[in-house]
Amino acid sequence: MLNRTEFWIVTSLAAASLLLMLTNMVMVAQHRKAQAEVSARAQYIQQAAQLEPLYREVVKALADLSVRNNDAALREVLAKQGITVSGNPAPATTAPAPGNGGK
């Protein structure tokens, strides 16, 4: 049999082990959630990066058409997104780099 001291030492170790196990379980759950969130955000960023060329082309096409035809409606569409088009010689678009306060 264990004496009193031994009993308490072993019991303390077992309690600490249980506590650590519970902490681990909670932390693993949190970790998985954070990982899922980070990977979802990474996917979102990657998809947006793939959309950037399309965005530039749409802006360029709208600006080209608005300057070529002196089209106020298209210019307004661009203006709503914070893009101003100067109608002189070349279609100069000031398409904002996304995220640089273009809006």
Partner: protein, 134 residues
């Protein structure tokens, strides 16, 4: 002269005559042999049961910090991505609305987008970014 007679067998000790199975064990009651108690194995078990989850906990804390760093580094690109998407959504939606009203230039752009596989529906709600929980 007196010759001392050898002591009878019964006097020299009872152990010789007793059967082996019924021999009383010396110190069986009250005294414990060292090293055979349950304390040492239990102690080792307890230390092992603490060491493994403690190591896992440490690893998880490290990984959590790394994830927090990645999350922090994603903040700016994530924000930019949201702006780009909403801007593109807005542009395409407005262009599609204009095309729906019969604007030739807008129609041209919408047709070109459709040719590239970009479907435009002016009534579609803008895409939701992943929830930022942190």
């Amino acid at each position: 002269m007196e010759n001392p007679a050898p002591a009878p067998a019964s006097d020299t000790g009872t152990t010789a005559a007793a059967p082996a199975g019924s021999r009383p064990r010396h110190g069986a009651r009250g005294r414990r042999e060292p090293g055979h108690g349950p304390f040492l194995p239990l102690l080792l078990l307890g230390v092992a049961a603490i060491a493994w989850p403690a190591f896992q906990c440490y690893q998880l804390v490290n990984e959590k910090q790394a994830l927090a760093t990645v999350f922090g580094n994603q903040a700016k690109p994530f924000e930019d991505s949201g702006k780009l998407r909403s801007s593109l959504d807005g542009l395409i939606r407005e262009t599609a609305l204009l095309a729906g009203k019969g604007h030739a230039g807008a129609k041209l752009i919408v047709d070109e987008l459709a040719r590239r596989g970009v479907t435009v529906s002016p009534d579609a709600p803008p895409g939701e970014p992943p929830k930022a929980g942190k």
